[in-house]
Structure formats: structure tokens, C-alpha cells
Symmetry: C2
Subunit: 416 residues, 2 copies
């Protein structure tokens, strides 16, 4: 089937999905969890074939790690499905309700977006997770995962379609796009009559490609160049933990801390401690002159070049710089931030509030790690990703972000 | 200055605008109202030159009407500025606030989008209105109105820039793009680093052009093919008023009623009354067989062709059809609606609720005219247009639609 035909089928299915009661949508997700449990061996076999092919093709270790499914990973996948089934139904939620002078009763009501296309890495777990979120929010989806996960995705999609079919929902609400043909992707990105939203998630090359070719509204989940500013009013104990764990707890995630800015008034006290901690944690510091000076020749501290500011390392590397003032910190962030996540460490409330007002990233934190910019941590129940687009959804995007509010108005014969 | 340079200036200005207190933003709008009052003769002269040139170029009457500024129009423009200045400040509004298990206090806070580019018809009033809304919401804007309004727009923009400058706000927060060069527009649509949102408003050709060339997120304000369904449970008095005034009160607006669907059970009672009323109102009906039959040869009722379903007439013409059932009405709307506005007339609550659930246009009304899909009528205080995109904003788009919610999180040293 051509991508044009697939998108048309998804559009048709989306109308039926939007009409399904929440109980049916939840039943599909619970049924899918059971089917995944029942077919674990088959899934692991398909995945190990993907792994073998990827290894033979020389795919690198981090990518292989993301590709691999394990019994524990499948348990989490099932658990995720059950959690999403248990979340409140966003469809039909009334977010506001008021009466206007004409006597009309106005409601804003959440409604599905329609058809969502997601383009992502070779991570089979995302296939099930993205389907579950899109479908729970009443949408059909086209899921195009990285080609290395082809066998895994194809099998998972066919199981999901079985669950849809078995519960009276349209199987065409879920399509795994298995071709890795860029021409086909280009075509898909023009199908604005049948696709309402495109979510690209991944590296700069993919985002650029989608950006260049999409005629469909796009919300990008792009990179995070997350800063922590250690203010002169900081509790340095808190600052040390926030910076150190912000880098080490999951260095390859978009919410990892990539750059620390230290106010000059606390540099003398803070730099040696941070340098020592980084040494213990195996973190390389790319620092300015002050850091290099404070390092006294320690091998893990190197001179930063201009290219280090604004770089997303996704590795045990931390850019580090001393700033003369709060304003300089805000200016550095304004220039190099990717709009993802920024944090300040300070006990001074006025400074904290100023930071929250003037730094307008998708998530701004006071005295907490950048790693908390995450749908689960911020109470969304789930997330399909973290948007760095300043439109529709900015920051973690949960079920609500997969809906749109429309107006429902009840009158008694009003005309104008 | 090239469009690339203009957009860069707008981007720089947008950062300063977002930092301005609401009192300064309001002062600019009030100052602008005063300046417009003081320079009325100059503005009317510039506009009459635009009118003369447009007349000489053979521009049609409806377009000339939209182009023309009058003392009364300028009074409304000033009144609009004062009203917008008086609206609550959306910037910094906390829309939600809660604490998560880790102890983090999470807020969702409205923040400006950044730089908004609007592309619209030759309507100089929109230039001031769009600037006021964008700026009130903390944004910079690039406003590209139709070329026929060039002199009017250029003068109005220069006055707005004076107001910005006089109040300590950056003049570059407002740019009127006066060139009508399509190549320049194409270039503008690629400047995604410096423009956050494009709002095209106007005819199908313009929307298509923007759609084809934009690399920037776009919210379209497209056409309205608005339906009214007269259910078998309708109060026919209400139905008659809703359909008749929905067509006649402002036939050239996007929320005018373009098509009426009548349940067969009330056709015998309703059709003759609607046909009679249309005759009095000077409305032409393009009807199906039932309507033509009921018309008994009346000259203002003609046979509809397939092309009439889904047509936006923007004129005193109404498509009309009898349907066999509620489901047929919903199916007709599903097929031909532009997602703008749909209404049902019925006293049967269950049917009304079913309609509200199954018809997912940007605004769905019960027992009220489609003409109420309007930011002022629905209590938004103002509107920059009515979005038919199912992303970011769907329906009337007011100040809130010109902002985005971000996450502000306060902790006490939390790490993970």
C-alpha cells in the first residue's frame, strides 16, 4: 500500500476512533498489554534479529542499547500500557465553562487532533508507547521508527492492530511505516489533508529534513542544551548535587545538564568542589579560564572553545563558565540555550523569580535538577516527548498535548 | 532593509518586549490611540490615495469597501486599542499550579510566542488590531497586508513605531511589510530562526501559497463552510430565525451560514416557511429536489449541483438539502464542512449532545446562529482571527492564543 493510501485509511479510522467511548479505547490498551505478554518469545526473537542485523551493519553501542528489547523492557511496556489506560480520558474534557452576555453557555472541550505522524529513532518501546498515547487521546497514528527496528516494529504494530480489531476499534488507527525510503517520507510530509500533526523526534539531521519538507504542522522534540546557573545566593551543597547528578544520572537524555554557569562571587568556594566531584564521577569539564585555573592541572578539566557553548554532548562532559553577574548568566542562556530546560540554584527569592520571568525555556527550575523536565516527573502521567517548539505544546507533551480545545456553545434561539 | 534583516530586528525586539511590564505595553496602546486621533486627516489622506489607486486598477467593490478607512472606522480602531489595553495581561498568567510527589511545585505560565508574522488582506484596520493583540501578548510582529493598502499601512505602522519609541519599547516590535514581492514572502516563510508563527488569513490562493512555502509553524484562518441542521425536534420558529439571520446579517463573513440541512420529518412544515423568508430577504436557495419541489417554481430557488455542497458563497446564497436522519446530517457535515462552525436546532437534549460530541468543528452550537463563532461573542475580549487548524488554537484566537504555556518549577534541592 502506498503512503498516500495508508494516510487515507488512517484519516478514515481517525473519525471512528474519535467516536469511540473511552472504555473501548482503554480496553484496547489493556488487551494489547495481555497480547504482548502472551507473545513475548516471538517479540524477543524478532528483536534479536533486528539486533543481529544492526550489529552486522556496525551500528554503534548507544544505538544498539536503544534498539534492544528485554523481558524487563517488555514488562515496562505492558506496565506503561496499563498506566495509560488508567489515566483520565482527555477526550470530551471540559476545560472551561462560562456564560456570555447573550446568554450563550460556552464550553471549551478537548477533542482529538485526528491523525498524528511520529518519526523517531530505532526504539521499539516508543512504537507501543506512542500508539498508546495517541490512541488514548482519540487519534489515529502513523509511526515511523528507525529502520534498524523494522522487524520489532512491524510485529508490535500487527499485535496492536489485532487488539484494535478484537475490541471493535478500527485496525487502521495504527500503522507502522516500515520503509526507510526518504522519498516516501517526503511524500508523507505533504499529506496535509490526511495528517494533522507531525512529531519528529531525534537528531538534528532528521529534524532538519522534516522541517525542510513538511507541509503539515510540526512540533519538534529537539535537543536540549540545558544550563544550570549557580547564583551568588546559592546553597553550594544543593548546587553541587544538582549539577553533578544533572550530568551523571542519565547523560544521554535531552534533559541532562550540559553547561554550568557560576556566579563569580561563589566561584572560589564552588569551583574546586565541582572539579573534585567531576573527577570522582568521571565527568570531563570544558571550562573557561577560571575553571582551568582552579583545576590546577587536573587532567579532566580542559579549556573550552567557543564551540562548547551551546553544545549538546549527551555524554559525561560538562561545559563550565564563571559569569560576572546574574544578567550575564541570563544573556549566556539567551544566546546558547535550545529553549529546553534551564535551572537556577539560589536561596534568594527575588533572584529566583527574576530568573523564572526572564528565562523563557519550556521548563525553568529553581533549586532542582534539569532532569525533572519530564512528563512523569511533572505530573502529566505520561509523555510522548518534550516539545521545543513554541506552539501548541512547549515542554513535556502528554495526553492533553495530543488534543485540541474546541468551542461547544448552547443557546436558546440566539441570533445576531 | 531585506526581509532577513527585518526578521532579525523583530527577533531582537521580541526579547525586550517579552520583558516589558504589562503597564508599558498598555501605555503604548493607549498612546497609539491618541496619536491616531491626532493624525486623522493624514491617515484619511493616505487611505484615499490607496483607494484612488485601487479604483484605477479596477479593484472590485467588496475589496474597496474593506480597504476604505472612515472617521467612524478610525474611531472604532481607537476604541479597539483602548479595549485591548484594558484586557487582562496574558503574559505571566498562571494557568495551573500543583505539587508533585517529589515536592516540586509546578506552575504552567503563559509566555509570549516571540515573533508573529501575519499575512492578510488589504484591510488597514487589521494592521492596528493585529499589532495591538500581538504586542499586548508580549510579541513582536511582522504584518504583511494586501498591497492595495500600502500607503495606509505604512503610515499606521510608522505611527505605531512612534508610540513604541515614546514609551521606552523597541520600535522594531512592529514592522509593516510593504513589498508585494512573492519572492520576498517566500524568503520570509523560511526564516524559522527568527519567526515563531505565521498566520495567513484570506483566500484559498494565499493559504495554499503559504502552506506550500512555509518552514514556520502556521495557523490558518481559512474559509468557513458553516452548516445548520434543523433536526426533527427543532422549534421551527427558532430554526427560521437562526437560518435566515445566519445568512443575511453578514453574508461575507467566514461564520455566515452557507448550508442548511433539514430533517425529513419537519421538511413539509419548514421548507415553505424558509423559502418564503428567503424570498423576502433576497436570498437565493440552491436546493435539492425537495426544496425545488416545495418552491413551486419560485424564481429564487434553483437546483443545487454537487458543486454547491461544501461551497463558501460569502453572498446571499444558501445551499439547502433535506436529510433522512440525524446520521445523514452528521455524515454530510463530515464530508463537506471546513471545520469552522456547525449548528443544530433542536429541543431534544440527547440529540443536541450527540451532535456536540460527533461534530468536531472549531465551534459547534445548539440553538444559536453560526454567526456567534467570533472572539468577542464568545467572551475572548478580542480576536486575531478564527483558526481552522487543529493545532495550538482551534476557533476564535484571542490573546491567549498568542501565548504558549511553559513550566516553571520550584524545588528545594531535588535531584534525580
Amino acid at each position: 500500500m502506498t503512503i498516500v493510501a495508508v494516510a487515507k485509511k488512517a484519516r478514515e479510522a481517525s473519525r471512528r476512533v474519535a467516536d469511540l467511548p473511552g472504555s473501548v479505547r482503554n480496553a484496547v490498551l489493556l488487551d494489547l498489554a495481555d497480547r504482548i505478554a502472551g507473545r513475548e518469545t516471538e517479540i524477543l526473537t524478532a528483536n534479536s534479529e533486528d539486533m543481529k542485523a544492526a550489529e552486522a551493519a556496525g551500528v554503534d553501542a548507544p544505538k544498539l542499547k536503544r534498539l534492544k528489547l528485554t523481558p524487563e523492557g517488555l514488562r515496562q511496556m505492558r506496565e506503561g500500557l496499563r498506566q495509560i489506560a488508567g489515566l483520565p480520558d482527555p477526550v470530551g474534557q471540559v476545560t472551561r465553562s462560562y456564560t456570555v452576555p447573550s446568554g450563550l453557555k460556552v464550553e471549551k472541550v478537548r477533542t482529538p487532533l485526528g491523525v498524528i505522524a511520529m518519526i523517531y529513532e530505532a526504539r521499539p518501546g516508543v512504537t507501543i508507547d506512542a500508539f498508546a498515547l495517541c490512541f488514548k487521546a482519540g487519534n489515529a497514528c502513523l509511526l515511523k521508527g528507525g529502520k534498524e527496528a523494522d522487524r520489532s516494529n512491524r510485529l508490535l504494530a500487527s499485535i496492536a492492530r489485532e487488539s484494535l480489531d478484537a475490541n471493535g476499534a478500527p485496525a487502521d488507527a495504527m500503522h507502522a511505516i516500515t520503509s526507510s525510503d526518504r522519498e516516501e517520507l517526503k511524500t508523507m510530509l505533504t499529506l496535509s489533508d490526511d495528517i494533522d500533526l507531525v512529531i519528529p523526534r531525534g537528531g538534528a539531521g532528521l529534524i532538519r529534513f522534516v522541517h525542510e519538507h513538511s507541509r503539515i504542522p510540526t512540533i519538534q522534540h529537539f535537543h536540549g542544551v540545558c544550563h544550570v546557573f549557580v547564583d551568588k545566593g546559592a546553597d553550594l551543597e544543593k548546587a553541587l548535587e544538582i549539577v553533578a547528578t544533572g550530568k551523571t544520572s542519565a547523560p544521554a537524555t535531552c534533559n541532562t545538564t550540559e553547561c554550568v554557569l557560576v556566579h563569580k562571587d561563589v566561584a572560589e568556594a564552588f569551583l574546586p568542589r565541582l572539579i573534585e566531584r567531576a573527577g570522582k564521577d568521571g565527568v570531563e569539564i570544558r571550562g573557561d579560564e577560571s575553571f582551568v585555573g582552579a583545576a590546577k592541572g587536573a587532567a579532566h578539566v580542559r579549556s573550552a572553545t567557543d564551540a562548547d557553548w551551546g553544545t549538546e554532548y549527551l555524554d559525561l562532559i560538562l561545559a563550565a563558565r564563571v559569569v560576572d553577574s546574574f544578567d550575564d548568566a541570563v544573556a549566556h542562556i539567551g544566546r546558547y540555550s535550545s529553549g529546553h530546560t534551564e535551572a537556577i540554584v539560589t536561596e534568594d527569592n527575588a533572584t529566583a523569580e527574576d530568573f523564572c520571568r526572564r528565562v523563557r525555556s519550556s521548563c525553568v527550575l529553581v533549586n532542582a535538577s534539569t532532569r525533572f523536565n519530564d512528563g512523569f516527573q511533572l505530573g502529566l502521567g505520561a509523555e510522548i516527548g518534550i516539545s521545543t517548539s513554541r506552539i501548541h505544546a512547549y515542554g513535556p507533551m502528554g495526553l492533553e498535548g495530543l488534543t485540541i480545545e474546541r468551542f461547544v456553545v448552547r443557546g436558546d434561539g440566539q441570533t445576531r
